[in-house]
């Protein structure tokens, strides 16, 4: 597998791993049959993402994309965060192998889910 140094660096030293206590939003994407499961947790203050963490079962690309998006999203407004695409995540890592671009490149999807989850909870504070 031809991974860039940046991918390997994030794979070997992933940032912000683990479940967040009382997160404001949680996004879950992937499924066991495709071999990737990604959980992204965000904390939101004044419409900005102040913190993000992840838990991922998946290949090197899945772990590296999860790791780097937790850094990319920090400090962004929710609108800016929603504009992050999977392709941008891959670009930040210096690219991904072709076969990985469409299977393990799910971090932006997980982020969107997390933001939607946050907004759902805002609309209905009793919702779990």
């Amino acid at each position: 597998m031809e991974y860039t140094d940046k991918v390997m660096e994030h794979f070997m030293n992933p940032r912000n791993i683990g479940e967040m206590e009382n997160p404001d939003g949680v996004g879950k994407v992937g499924n066991p049959s495709c071999g990737d499961i990604m959980e992204l947790f965000i904390r939101v203050e004044d419409d900005r993402v102040t913190e993000a963490s992840f838990r991922t079962f998946g290949c090197g690309a899945a772990i590296a994309t999860s790791s780097i998006i937790t850094e990319m999203v920090k400090g962004k407004t929710l609108q800016q965060a929603l504009e992050i695409t999977n392709m941008q995540v891959a670009e930040q890592l210096g690219g991904l192998p072709d076969t990985k671009l469409h299977c393990s490149n799910l971090a932006a999807d997980a982020l969107k889910e997390a933001i939607e989850d946050y907004r759902r909870k805002q609309d209905d504070p009793n919702a779990e």
Binding site: M1, Y3, M8, F11, M12, P14, I17, G18, K28, P32, S33, C34, G35, D36, I37, M38, E39, F54, R55, T56, F57, G58, C59, G60, A61, A62, I63, T99, K100, C103, S104
Partner: protein, 386 residues
């Protein structure tokens, strides 16, 4: 950094003795075996010697029963398509198993487009084919049964002699892909009762790009490649003399070392499997513990994806492989593990470590020293339970 190669089922290093033989037929005795002159004579002699060495290793009665090919995949294709086309007026049905190598499964699939019917018998949770199921699958117009001798992924050894006997009773040809078994197990074509058997050079410390098909005397198949009269009209094309000489030498070496290789690799394999089971919770040994290739250790580690483990191992200098979708171009989990009924999250969590003659107990201990740490690091970021 320490580098340990534990992927011998993918390929093996060429043995120095083999390399020097290959070298000779590339640099000095480089003639075409069809030529009249002394250069051709040297090449012809090399082919005869190699044929005898291959025949010797697998107990073939006559060296003329050996057809040289470009490798295991070509041998499988020649056996299956060759038997199918030759016998197509007798019948158009072939029996194989769900755990076969793609060289077999995809050759069968190609025949399906030409009106042949393929029955894939299943495998049990250890990857084993039930001979009774093969017997039940044989129909009036079955012309070929093809079941591998040992599985390349999980190492399960199939009851090939028993299945060959069933095929013979039904007067159906029997082929076995013995690419992984040769050089590790006793492979004797007479005792096994097989009509055709595939061999690969690079799995037994020989060169890549060369293999052989054993074709029992009297067994008729149709050639799949047309041109000159090479290999008794069964495989046209100027013989890969250097590669073939190397394959022959590799077979001679395998015969000399068979007992040592088997006991050496079983010791390493069991030391690894026992050690991993002790040190890693939620570890599942894939395949049969008893009916297993000496060099094969295949485990699934709950909650950790296979490719991630390979990268972690590689960072510690250890070369292994996985049945995870992420390591295949098709993005599907191993068809063998799936056929064994394994849940996808465990199939994606598989790692295969395959030993070779040059591995040592220190290699195993090094793996046991670093592997649990890799697993716990990856588990710390996994959302799956184990």
């Amino acid at each position: 950094m320490r580098r340990i190669y534990l992927d011998h089922s993918a390929t093996t290093p060429v043995h120095p003795r083999v390399a020097s033989v290959v070298n000779r037929y590339m640099l000095a005795d480089y003639g075409n075996a069809s030529s009249v002159h002394s250069f051709g004579e040297a090449a012809r002699k090399a082919l005869i010697r190699a044929r005898e060495q291959v025949a010797g290793l697998i107990g073939a009665e006559d060296r003329e029963e050996i057809i040289f090919t470009s490798g295991g995949t070509e041998s499988d294709n020649l056996a299956i398509k060759g038997a199918a086309w030759y016998n197509r007026k007798k019948g158009k049905h072939i029996v194989t198993s769900a755990g076969e190598h793609h060289a077999v499964l995809h050759a069968c699939k190609a025949l399906k487009r030409h009106g042949f019917r393929i029955t894939e018998v299943g495998v049990d949770s250890e990857g084993r084919v039930d001979p009774d199921e093969v017997a039940d699958a044989i129909e009036d117009d079955t012309i070929l049964v093809t079941i591998m001798m040992a599985n390349n992924e999980v190492g399960t050894v199939q009851p090939v002699a028993e299945i060959a006997e069933i095929a013979r009773r039904h007067e159906v040809l029997f082929h076995t892909d013995a690419v992984q078994a040769v050089g590790q197990l006793d492979v004797n074509v007479s005792e096994l009762g097989v009509d055709m058997l595939s061999i690969s050079g690079h799995k037994i410390y020989g060169p890549k790009g060369v293999g052989a098909l054993y074709l029992r005397k009297g067994t008729r198949i149709r050639s799949q490649q047309h041109g000159g009269h090479h290999e008794r009209n069964m495989r046209a094309g100027t013989e890969n003399v250097a590669g073939i000489a190397g394959l022959g030498e590799a077979c001679a070496l395998a015969e000399e070392e068979l007992k040592f290789r088997r006991s050496h690799m079983i010791r390493l394999r069991d030391r690894l499997l026992d050690g991993l089971q002790e040190s890693i919770e939620g570890l599942h040994i894939n395949g049969s513990r008893d009916e297993r290739l000496p060099n094969n250790a295949n485990v699934s580690i709950a909650g950790v994806e296979g490719e991630a483990m390979l990268l972690g191992l590689n960072a510690e200098g250890i070369a292994a492989s996985s049945g995870s979708a992420c390591t295949s171009e098709t993005l599907e989990a191993s068809h063998v593990l799936s056929a064994m009924g394994m849940k996808p999250e465990l199939a994606h969590a598989s790692v295969r470590l395959t030993f070779g003659r040059e591995n040592t107990e220190e290699d195993v201990d090094y793996v046991l020293q670093v592997f649990p740490g890799i697993v716990s690091r990856l588990r710390s970021m996994s959302p799956l339970d184990y």
